[in-house]
């Protein structure tokens, strides 16, 4: 049953096979409906919709990252929006440098907002972002480094539970304030925008958008497999053990804070990738991604989909964001009511989320034993 290589283990699970299968089929279906069905046909998927789906998929990857730490490690991070945004900013910086001299002011090196602020030269931390490989590495390293420093400080002092939630929230709030400052050199209020092309492909091109959508789908599949591989490994069981009885795990000889840190950093990197894929598809990154409310909303996606299942996080992210698209189009005022009610109803009546409902149905049909972790009611 167990494969030799830890990364390939999830492929022997039926749930992963099903998830990857559905995801790839959906990607293929959207691609076909977009390319092969003529425009105007009821089955045609427009470029706009492809773009929208791409956005949902990057949110889904973000939700998977949050589920990894919340579902399996019991860490309710209210700071994943920050990791997402950092990945997004890294990508945004790359895209800004790609504009070259086509900006409003025509400066070959400086982005428009720097010219506007009368900056003489590129700040040191903008160096290197003209190279794709460097920028893509920073997509992983910037959120990873923040998570490493923050997590190391927090976990070694055994800051857990609601305390950790509060200080992660404070972290993202502080970053938001910082990124709003023009002096930070990230475009302040307006953020980074007016992107032209990525890796030489024009972002205004429908084909590029389709490519980004597919890339996001593939990234989601990879992220899912990585998380799943962690979860089904012995390390995943250590995580669950930490979640349910941290002190006990410590007495067994596991350095709990390092396991927490390891998983936290991986999760932050995945969030960064999600952000990096999100930015070229929406065409802008600004400090509002650091808003505390966004980070809490991500947790809601996971809660709605079902904690500690990973695929539940994907379902939740897509459901909530689809609902948001519909609501804000039809009656924008009602959306916050709906979102607020969703928070209350899910936590009170649906603690296991949609996935919990599905699992309950399946279990009635066959008592499966291959699910390693079931979500706990208690979350201390």
């Amino acid at each position: 049953m167990q494969s030799r290589s830890w990364l390939l283990r999830p492929f022997s699970e039926r749930s992963t096979q099903l998830f990857i299968g559905v995801l790839l089929a959906a990607l293929a279906l959207v691609t076909v409906l977009h390319l092969a069905v003529p425009a105007g046909h009821p089955l045609n998927v427009t470029a706009y919709t492809v773009n929208l789906f791409g956005k949902y998929l990057s949110y889904a990857l973000l939700a998977v990252a949050v589920d990894l730490v919340w579902g399996y490690l019991g860490i309710l991070s209210l700071g994943h929006g920050a990791f997402f945004a950092l990945g997004g900013y890294a990508m945004g910086m790359y895209l800004m440098r790609q504009i070259g001299d086509r900006g409003t002011y025509g400066d070959p090196v400086l982005p428009d907002f720097m010219v506007f602020l009368n900056w003489e030269s590129l700040p040191w931390y903008w160096q290197g972002f003209d190279m794709a490989w460097f920028a893509f590495a920073m997509v992983l390293l910037a959120p990873g480094a923040l998570a490493l420093v923050f997590g190391w400080l927090a976990f070694r002092s055994r800051v857990t539970g609601v305390y950790l939630s509060i200080i992660t929230q404070a972290m993202t709030f502080a970053l938001m304030l910082a990124f709003f400052r023009n002096e930070m050199g990230f475009g302040g209020n307006n953020g980074l925008t007016d992107f032209r092309d990525i890796l030489g492909f024009s972002l205004r091109n429908d084909a590029t958008r389709l490519g980004l959508f597919i890339a996001t789908g593939v990234a989601l599949a990879l992220g899912y497999v990585i998380c799943r591989a962690i979860v089904v490994s012995k390390l995943g069981r250590v995580c669950v053990a930490t979640r349910d009885a941290e002190a006990r795990t410590r007495f067994l000889g596991y350095r709990v804070e390092r396991f927490q840190l390891f998983v936290f950093v991986i999760s932050a990197m995945l969030a960064g990738v999600a952000g990096a894929l999100y930015v070229p598809q929406v065409g802008i990154i600004n400090p509002s991604e650091f808003e505390p409310i966004f980070s809490i909303e991500i947790v809601l996606w996971v809660a709605l989909g079902g904690r500690a299942t990973l695929y539940g996080a994907v379902i939740g992210a897509i459901l909530v964001n689809y609902a948001k698209t519909v609501f804000t189009g039809v009656m924008p005022d009602a959306w916050l009511f709906a979102l607020g009610a969703l928070f209350v109803l899910v936590t009170v009546f649906l603690p296991r989320g949609v996935a919990g409902l599905l699992a309950y149905r399946f279990k009635r049909q066959r008592r499966s034993s291959d699910d390693t972790a079931t979500p706990q009611e208690a979350s201390a």
């Binding site: 956005k55 309710l76 923050f150 400080l153 927090a154 070694r156 002092s157 055994r158 800051v159 539970g161 609601v162 305390y163 939630s165 509060i166 200080i167 929230q169 404070a170 972290m171 709030f173 502080a174 304030l177 910082a178 709003f180 400052r181 929406v282 509002s288 808003e291 505390p292 409310i293 966004f294 809490i296 947790v299 809601l300 809660a303 948001k324 698209t325 804000t328 924008p332 005022d333 959306w335 916050l336 009511f337 979102l339 607020g340 009610a341 969703l342 928070f343 209350v344 899910v346 936590t347 009170v348 603690p351 009611e377 208690a378 979350s379 201390a380």
Partner: protein, 555 residues
Amino acid sequence: MRNFPLPWSTTAQGGAVHADEVRIRTPWVLLMALAVSLLGLAHAPSTLAQDAEAVVLLEALDVDDYAAKGEAIDAIVSSDDERARDWLQALLDGRLQRTDDGRFVVVLDNRGRDWPVENALTGEALGEMSRRELERIGINNALRNQLRSALAVVDLYSPDLERRRASAERLLGEVDDDLSGPLAEVIEEATDDRVRERLSLALAIHRLEQGELEAVAELEGSLHPEVRVALNRAAQGDDPVLATSAGEALRGIEQTLKLNRAAETLYFGLSMGSVLVLAAIGLAITFGVMGVINMAHGELIMLGAYTTWAVQQLLPGQPGLALILSIPAGFLVSALAGVAIERGVIQFLKGRPLETLLATFGVSLILQQLVRTVISPQNRTVVTPEWMSGSLAVNDALSLTLNRMAVLGFALLVFVGLMLVMRRTRLGLEVRAVTQNRAMARSMGIRATRVDILTFALGSGVAGLAGVALSQLTNVGPNLGQNYIIDSFMVVVFGGVGNLWGTLVAGLSLGVINQVLEPWAGAVLAKIIVLVFIILFIQKRPRGLFPQKGRAAEG
């Protein structure tokens, strides 16, 4: 894609007046003005004789020669006409004007297209006039100075003490040779200490400007900016003896000023801290007792603020009474809302603190949107009663705003009240018991559920009180609560959960730290620094400044 209003952004307020409204109003206003002026003419004969003299005085002003105008001003000053002061003031402000038909009027408000005016002689309102019908009596800078001095002297003899004081205040740095003589007389006659002190200071400045060395000694220790200006000028002057002596006096003053500035920073810090304490202390109670994070706490603060607004709407014209009534009303409204949240949501999530956090966050979204939909997405202004506006001048460099002082006092009062409730009442005892060890308290017959409800009502009610206080300092809007929630958490965590003293110390010190940092870091950076500081602090002392110790807390 997200369309939440940002917590820091203030909603743009529409201020545009519809153009057609103005167009329709204009002829009607003109008619009104005409009618009023006719009425004024009808009254005219009875006061005509008395006003003949006055007209002559005013006519003398309407000449092209500025020197002649100066003489005319002197004539008005010595005329003993009781309207003289208003004329001079209006002349100084450029509001003394003449209509097309030669009448003298005082413009009451010279903004906009049509100005409300009154007859300069009779004081009768003449309605609104177009600016094209009016011609201003111009003055130059020399006249302006003359007018100021003249006004000051006129005012120094005013029967109104406040006016005498204000006038003495204005004379600092304005005294010239012409004035110094009369002023010395006024000082002799002055009955009020403050008037005398100010005038002596004003004379001393004048004497310093004349190069008198003894004047420096008199100016020493005064913190008034005019004194500093005068000393500064003297210190850079040609007379070396005077310059050294003035320089020394200046250094002494700078030293005192530094202390005053520190005191001011401290005051602002304590004021900000008191707001934090008010906002956080209710949270400290609910979090400490129930281990529950109530993300809707900020919205309970907001409800308190809106209650103040609503009570003021019910009692128009009595902002003071309304504010006092708002205190129990705000407490009640927020306490009831808190109980509703506890019964409706939190009680179902016992032992699941993280889920509680999420659910109450949902409640906070609903409450915010509710206020936006039912009342308005725009800010509401709450009137500050007269006895709370203005400021208390400690000395010339330091004045403490009364509303902030009132909030500071209120915060301390609420704190003491809560301390008494916790220490002296049965509820307090039960609350402390449940905080220490819920299971044990329950087994000793304390009804933990009842304690939960009452604690939550208490904590929420205090949030309401915070809202009442905040309405006196900031605008009341749907985002009011959001702005304080993270800060409140920081205060509670910094101070140590379940410890009211900790909350007080943490709130006040965070306020002061923020104010100390602000001058050199800027408001936003100061805030970031404080947040980072707390994040680092929690790593070092995860249980805050004043942690609960012992076995129960370890569990």
